[in-house]
């Protein structure tokens, strides 16, 4: 254990959980419903073959609970030990498509889990929701306010697909990005540690709000759920270009090089966008991380849960070694940027990996 010299407290990831809803919607099924002329190679462009979507009895709340239970079951902590719950989803659907305002989603999650003594609140920050929860929990743990925190998100976001199908008439529609989404739940437990080697590092959390209307979502009148309008090309270009100095500063503050990263987990948007972004980073930093992780093929873009669903999937595949360093980059509508770096360490044991 690398104890910090000044007895400083750090935050680490202690456990990770996931919830996958019960239905599958393929890209072929979506494309067959679109009324656009010609063949559109959506699957080739996005890398998404299918995504998991909620069954009629599933929603943001049920996904959050399922993910939280999976996370707690893998954790060395008991439910009663949890001191804080932060719910981070964009969608807060309960009982189908009722968007919950009060009590907060975190409060109803807390009740359902029977964790009566934990403090709770919701954060909402588009697809950067869980990263925002991680930053807040990390700060509260480092300052000794809490010893641990459950950061959870249930995203029932597939109504965007059905509402987009109704509206899309041309391949240039601003609702095309809505077809990439999928439903999922994710939860993680963070806890205090004195071991610097286990610490989560964060840097560059910022919002460049001059671009705040490049991607917006609100309820679709006359239909359940929401509609999202995205200027996909613009938001991609700005995200990649403006994240370079943020990553550069982050690497500098962490005392590492971009090429020291073993695995890069970007926000899971589309294969073409991720590959193009990775190429731009590699060219600028004159090096590459060991591997760029994508799990789009059978998940799609699961909004605020996407980084941690990707991490979970790859933990299950057993691809990591304990010393592997992960770089997570968040860009979300707002436009929100944030960088976290951590080593896999004990997470590997929770998912039964035999990788030495």
């Amino acid at each position: 254990m690398n104890k910090s010299e000044d007895n400083k407290t750090y935050a680490r990831f202690e456990s990770l959980g996931r919830a996958i809803p019960g239905d599958i919607l393929t890209t072929d099924q979506i494309m067959s419903q679109l009324k656009i002329p010609g063949k559109f190679k959506f699957e080739l462009l996005t890398g998404i073959k299918s995504r998991n979507v909620c069954k009629p009895d599933e929603d943001s709340f049920t996904l959050a609970i399922k993910a939280a239970k999976d996370c707690i079951q893998r954790s060395s902590l008991k439910s009663a030990d949890i001191e804080m719950i932060i719910s981070c989803s964009i969608t807060r659907y309960t009982e189908g498509h009722h968007q919950q305002y009060e009590p907060s989603m975190s409060f109803v999650i807390k009740q359902a889990l029977g964790i009566t003594d934990a403090r709770s609140f919701d954060v909402s920050n588009a697809c950067a929701g869980m990263f925002t929860g991680v930053l807040i929990a990390k700060s509260l743990i480092e300052q000794g306010v809490i010893k641990n925190c459950l950061v959870v998100s249930g995203e029932f976001i597939s109504s965007l697909i059905h509402n987009a199908i109704r509206k899309i008439k041309t391949p240039t529609s601003n609702e095309f990005a809505s077809l990439t989404v999928g439903d999922a739940g994710s939860a993680l437990i963070m806890e205090a540690t004195k071991d610097q080697d286990l610490a989560i590092q964060s840097h560059g959390f910022t919002s460049q709000t001059e671009y705040n209307r490049l991607c917006t979502a609100q309820p679709r009148p006359k239909f359940p759920g929401a509609a999202m309008k995205t200027k996909a090309k613009q938001i991609h270009d700005v995200s990649i270009k403006n994240s370079i100095p943020i990553i550069e500063e982050a690497m500098k503050s962490f005392g590492i090089k971009y090429s020291d990263i073993d695995f890069l987990i970007p926000h899971q948007t589309s294969r073409a966008a991720i590959i193009s972004g990775a190429k731009t980073y590699s060219k600028y930093f004159k090096g590459s991380p060991g591997k760029i992780l994508m799990n789009l093929q059978y998940n799609g873009n699961t909004a605020s849960t996407s980084h941690f669903i990707c991490l979970y999937d790859n933990l299950m595949k057993g691809i990591f070694k304990p010393d592997d360093r992960i770089l997570g980059i968040s860009y979300a509508s707002g436009i929100v940027f944030g960088v976290i770096v951590f080593k896999i360490n004990d997470l590997i044991k929770l998912h039964g990996s035999t990788n030495p």
Binding site: I90, T91, T94, G96, H97, H98, Q99, Q100, Y101, E102, P103, S104, S106, F107, V108, K110, Q111, T116, R119, S120, F121, D122, V123, S124, N125, A126, A128, T132, L135, I136, S139, L140, E142, Q143, V145, F205, T206, S207, Q208, T209, E210, N212, R213, C215, T216, A217, Q218, P219, P221, K222, P224, G225, A226, M228, A332, S333, G334, I335, V336, G338
Partner: protein, 297 residues
């Protein structure tokens, strides 16, 4: 100790245009708050919105990003996000903002909270007075600022105050619509008071204090009767909380409104120990103990 309060400003709409936009109201509150000298807006690295009832029920981006983007003042590129937790979200956000400042994530931060009529159709069911409040926090001397935050929840009363945008069939239509439903049981104010009493008693007991040890007590405007009951129990003077507006109570901006009034009247600056008391759906009660550093200290 936590960050220091630099300024607070509250805006109550005079026009219908402002009544129907929590974003416009919040922008005005932030601009008023930043007009006070002594804080460089570029130093603000944290920007949190805690309002619940927002323009058109927007889901993304965060309303904080939309408010920040509409400011006429150059306020850098802070990290913007929404933090929601009913009536106690404002205190949760003060704690998070203060903590992020203490942890070196930023030199200063803003918490803004605004509620307005989300859509024209919601005007019939929206029971609150539209309002927005903003507060600026900055790093200050170690002896001052937020000393402690204390929270308790009473889930047995979770059904007494609920709000949601429900996908339901309105009485006058054949098909479903997104309907704003806000329900407040007649028992809610009494239970908020009972819950606050338990929370305050435990807090005072933990610190061997009483209400008399605090020079200023600021508390939630919602529910309407809560302040009156609390004031009677604590034997507080008549002007110890902000005026309840005609037409409805102020929701998430209520506590900030009381703070703005106390700052304008100098009562806040004269007080050494200030106690913020917030109640909200759940029922949740949150307290914040703030200490002013007086110039002679």
């Amino acid at each position: 100790m936590g960050a220091q309060i630099h300024n607070s400003a509250t805006v109550l709409p005079k026009t219908r245009k402002l009544q129907r936009s929590s974003i416009r109201l919040s922008v005005k509150a932030v601009e008023d708050c930043l007009s006070k000298e002594g804080l460089d807006p570029e130093e603000i690295g944290i920007f949190i919105n805690t309002g619940i009832f927002r323009d058109k029920h927007i889901g993304e981006p965060a309303i904080a990003a939309l408010i920040h983007g509409d400011l006429s003042i150059n306020c850098g590129s802070p990290f913007c996000f929404d933090l929601n937790n009913g009536g106690v979200g404002y205190i949760n956000a003060l704690e998070v903002c203060s903590n992020l400042i203490e942890n070196g994530e930023s030199k200063a931060g803003i918490v803004v909270s605004g509620d307005a009529i989300p859509r024209r159709i919601d005007r019939w069911v929206f029971p609150y007075s539209p309002a927005a409040t903003a507060i600026t926090l900055k790093k200050g001397p170690a002896e001052s600022g937020f000393i402690e935050f204390f929270h308790k929840s009473f889930p047995e009363h979770a059904d007494l105050q609920t709000s949601a945008l429900r996908w339901d069939k309105p009485d006058f239509r054949k098909s479903n619509r997104h309907i704003l439903k806000i329900n407040q049981d007649k028992e809610y104010a009494q239970q908020c008071f009972e819950s606050a009493k338990i929370t305050l008693t435990e807090f005072f007991s933990n610190h061997k204090l009483s209400a008399a040890d605090f020079d200023l007590l600021l508390y939630s405007h919602s529910p309407k009767q809560f302040g009156i009951k609390l004031k009677t129990w604590l034997r507080l003077p008549k002007d110890s909380y902000g005026k309840i507006l005609d037409g409805g109570e102020i929701h998430t901006a209520g506590l900030g409104y009381s703070l703005s009034r106390a700052m304008t009247s100098s009562k806040f600056h004269q007080a050494r120990n200030v106690l913020f008391i917030a109640v909200g759906s759940g029922i949740q009660v949150s307290l914040a103990w703030y200490r002013n550093l007086h110039q002679h200290e």
